[in-house]
């Protein structure tokens, strides 16, 4: 206990101050890589549990299964850093491709109306995403409603809409354009993996190296200070909320393509995994803190663990309980290594 935390004393510490603070700076940078050791440990454990774990096919399998939901994590990270939450992402994830399927799938195949040609499927999916984001932004930014409750309401409404248009059934016989991104192989690797990695790379650059990205941190950290610095906070929030919904719609499109169907429950409950991945990855629920890379490691870790559990032959009925436990353990570990109270 060298001194009280209240104050540095006396005008002496000219040279002492920087030295005292250097280790903390290093640590702050390392925070970004905090999950890497855990990922390595899981990789080793996975290899011990089953020799197939580290083989290319299995790794691609892990990446592909997480690619769709990882876009939700990315979307949520943007929103969280800007100091808000968007619960409705999981419903957008289902509704956006759902509407596209509803309008393009031929009559007689599920609840399809067949009013538009298949080529419209992708534009419609993305447009629905933008529209939902715009509604969220309108209510939150323009009318100043509480973001948590607004998006909770939207989550329920959008889920209900999907159930309504589909009659609770699953859409089949999707147009080929909807299938392409979720099922195509580029250079022998699924297109959705390429897309996911590409988008995360863009996200890392966006959040870390552009003024627009840094504006999100400013906004989430201290709105008034952000305004005083000349950041158009309302416009930034609009962009973030619309962009997040768009990402969610794209994620939904990828999943529909992979499964060649849109179930009425697509995305149901995914938001919990999304939040868990973001928080484990170091993104603060209070805004202004966290990185895209951290969020990526968060979702990667969760899916690696799931894969290990499956390979270890854990009965499917138990996976969910274990998932919850893993999230809690990961939080405890990051509290222990991070040292700070999480918020």
């Amino acid at each position: 206990m060298p001194s009280t935390p209240e104050k540095t004393r006396a005008p002496a510490p000219e040279s002492a101050a920087p030295e005292r603070e250097r280790p903390r700076v290093r640590f702050a940078r390392l925070r970004d890589l905090a999950l890497i050791p855990a990922i390595i440990v899981i990789a080793v454990v996975g290899q011990i549990v089953h020799p197939i774990f580290l083989q290319g096919d299995n790794l691609i399998n892990i990446l592909q299964t997480m690619s769709e939901i990882s876009l939700l994590v990315m979307a949520q990270t943007l929103v969280l850093v800007a100091g808000k939450m968007d619960l409705s992402l999981e419903s957008t994830f289902g509704l956006a491709p759902g509407v596209a399927a509803w309008l393009t799938v031929a009559v007689g195949s599920g609840a399809g109306l067949g009013v538009l040609s298949g080529a419209w499927a992708i534009p419609i999916t993305l447009a629905v995403g933008v529209l939902i984001g715009a509604i969220n932004a309108l209510l939150i930014v323009r009318f100043g409603l509480n973001g948590f409750i607004v998006t909770l309401g939207m989550l329920i409404v959008l889920r209900g809409l999907l159930t309504g248009i589909s009659g609770g059934q699953t859409f089949f016989n999707l147009p080929p354009s909807m299938l392409y991104l979720g099922s195509a192989l580029w250079l022998g690797v699924p297109a959705s993996i390429w897309l996911c990695l590409l988008l995360f790379a863009v996200g890392i650059v966006l959040l870390g190296f552009t003024r627009h990205g840094r504006a999100l941190y400013a906004l989430g950290g201290n709105v008034d200070a952000a305004k005083a610095a000349g950041i158009r906070t309302d416009r930034v929030l609009w962009t973030v909320l619309v962009g997040a919904s768009l990402l969610a719609a794209l994620g939904g499109l990828l999943l529909s393509g992979r499964l060649a169907s849109v179930a009425a429950a697509q995305g149901d409950g995914a938001i919990f995994t999304v939040f868990a991945a973001a928080v484990i990855g170091g993104v603060s629920l209070n805004g202004g803190k966290g990185t895209m890379f951290g969020a990526f490691t968060g979702i990667l870790l969760l899916y690696m663990i799931q894969n290990v559990l499956t390979l270890a032959g854990v009965p499917a009925q138990w996976i969910q309980a274990l998932n919850g436990a893993i999230i809690l353990i990961a939080l405890i570990l990051s509290r222990l290594t991070g040292g700070k109270v999480q918020d």
């Binding site: 060298p2 004393r9 840094r214 005083a228």
Partner: protein
């Protein structure tokens, strides 16, 4: 003064009126600030100082009148950059973003970009370091800004303001959260910057500081401009009279009746140690006695007071409250033993801003609020009503959230909370920080009144005005009691002892 009339003021507000609903926050107010001056703006809470600041910084438009910079009309409100080139304000409330580094805070939204439009972090850090070096601010730019203390933060904010090109800086109660040494450093810096051509508008409740650092003073009262004059031409009494609107001098506390020798011991602290923060402290406070605990920040006075209140558990030693020993580190136990406590930072520990005055004031006495753990609203409001009357809190009723009150009245709520339980030992830490002169006198009067009713009082502060009414003054320095003074002490003796200086050595 004659020269001032002819020269062009750097900043000028003319006939400014601002209304918020029914309230007139500024009524045809004016101020003229000449270049190179350090100009004081004083007035009691509600005099319109904050409103004037937001109009001078372009955050709010005046309803009538106008602001001019160097004789020219102010820029449009939307043109933030133009405003920032002319004026900057360092607020009491931080305008930095705690999660971002110092460097990024300095250049937020104007980062250095490379030709791909990406941020050049290394260049940004170098530029930030160079900026801080220019104004000799010794802070590591890679630190998250949230880790700075108040003093460093202010310096960083001043440097940021200067980097925009502004040479007019408003300091809104910059000394409220600083200890004496930090205030001295701040003043040194203000003087240096003034020599470099920076003009300051200095807002403070501490009149002494105005005499120390400012050339010109403007007094506002009840939303109006009262007077502007050079500081040297204005006596303390005149200044207070202008602020208060009545001729009340700064009270030199009337001599207090001596505490009877047979008065029992209310607080008995023996051999108390807490890490390196303070060691082997012995303090006895008798019933009816007011004991000052003077010391700079970091002297351990705050921690010692907090230990008595049960917020901290000492490593060794004992605390007895009228013969009873509360469990160390237990606030409920200390409360039950009869400790009333005014914490150091009212926003942080003093009240729950969104809860009502009644809820806040009665927070320490839940057992009196009703039967079986249920709260009777009527009983609470009756108790709170008595406290509001007793402390003359200006409010339409007990149901108003505390955040709707002025600083002085908020502090009265904190005091009410401490007094609600009829404490036998009242512990106060910097009880008048950031409140106006009138409220200050009132709060200290209440402290005397409490002592007169037979409570022992401990005031931990480095603010001499807080300590004047003490019967006895104990001075702490680096965790030890270094001096004890009877009332009637000289200011310079106390200040010297708090700074760990021996006056005879200084004189030599």
């Amino acid at each position: 003064m004659a020269a001032d009339q002819t020269a062009t003021p750097l900043v000028e507000a003319v006939g400014v009126t601002k209304r918020y609903g029914e309230t007139v926050a500024l009524d045809r107010a004016e101020i003229r600030i000449m270049p190179g001056r350090t100009h004081a703006l004083v007035g009691r809470n509600g005099a319109g100082k904050s409103t004037l600041v937001s109009i001078l910084t372009g955050l709010a438009p005046p309803d009538e009148g106008e602001v001019r910079f160097g004789g020219e009309s102010a820029p449009r409100l939307a043109d933030r950059d133009a405003w920032r080139r002319r004026v900057a304000c360092v607020y009491q409330k931080s305008t930095i973003i705690p999660e971002l580094t110092v460097a990024e805070n300095l250049y937020l939204n104007r980062h250095d970009l490379n030709r791909f439009g990406l941020i050049r972090w290394n260049a940004l850090r170098r530029k930030a370091a160079a900026l801080l070096a220019t104004w000799s601010v010794d802070v590591d730019v890679r630190l998250p800004a949230g880790e700075l203390d108040v003093e460093q933060r202010q310096f960083v904010e001043i440097a940021r303001a200067l980097s925009f090109g502004a040479r007019f800086i408003i300091l809104d109660e910059p000394t409220a959260q600083l200890d004496a040494a930090a205030i001295a450093r701040l003043f040194t810096r203000i003087r240096t910057l003034q020599e470099q051509g920076v003009t300051f508008l200095f807002i403070s409740h501490h009149l002494q500081e105005i005499y120390e650092i400012c050339d010109t003073v403007t007094v506002f009262r009840d939303a109006r401009h009262i007077l502007t004059t050079t500081v040297a031409d204005l006596t303390h009494t005149e200044l207070v009279a202008a602020m208060a609107g009545e001729a009340t001098g700064l009270t030199t506390a009337p001599p207090r009746a001596a505490v009877p020798a047979d008065a029992g011991v209310a607080l008995d602290v023996r051999g108390l140690s807490y890490g390196d923060t303070y060691r082997e402290i012995d303090v006895q406070v008798r019933a009816g006695e007011i004991v000052g605990l003077a010391g700079a920040a970091g002297s351990g006075r705050t921690e010692l007071a907090e230990t008595v209140a049960g917020l901290r558990a000492a490593d060794s030693g004992t605390i007895e409250i009228t013969g009873r020993r509360p469990r160390p580190g237990s606030v409920p136990d200390a409360l039950a033993a009869g400790v009333g406590f005014v914490p150091r930072d009212r926003h942080h520990q003093g009240f729950v801003a969104m809860m009502s005055i009644a809820d806040n004031a009665t927070m320490t006495i839940p057992e009196q609020l009703g039967e079986a753990g249920l709260i009777s609203g009527r009983r609470r409001d009756r108790l709170a009503g008595a406290l509001i009357d007793n402390l003359a809190i200006k409010t339409p009723g007990p149901g108003l959230p505390v955040m709707g009150l002025s600083g002085g009245n908020q502090q009265k709520v904190v005091m009410a909370r401490a007094l609600a339980s009829d404490p036998r030992v009242l512990v106060l830490i910097t009880p008048t920080a950031g409140v106006d002169v009138k409220s200050k006198e009132f709060l200290l009067g209440k402290v005397e009144e409490t002592a007169a009713k037979g409570s022992g009082v401990v005031i931990a502060s480095d603010e001499l005005d807080d300590l004047r009414l003490c019967d006895r003054l104990l001075v702490m320095f680096q965790g030890r009691l270094v001096a004890e003074m009877a009332s009637g002490w000289h200011d310079h003796d106390v200040v010297a002892a708090m700074e760990g200086v021996r006056l005879d050595a200084l004189d030599a």
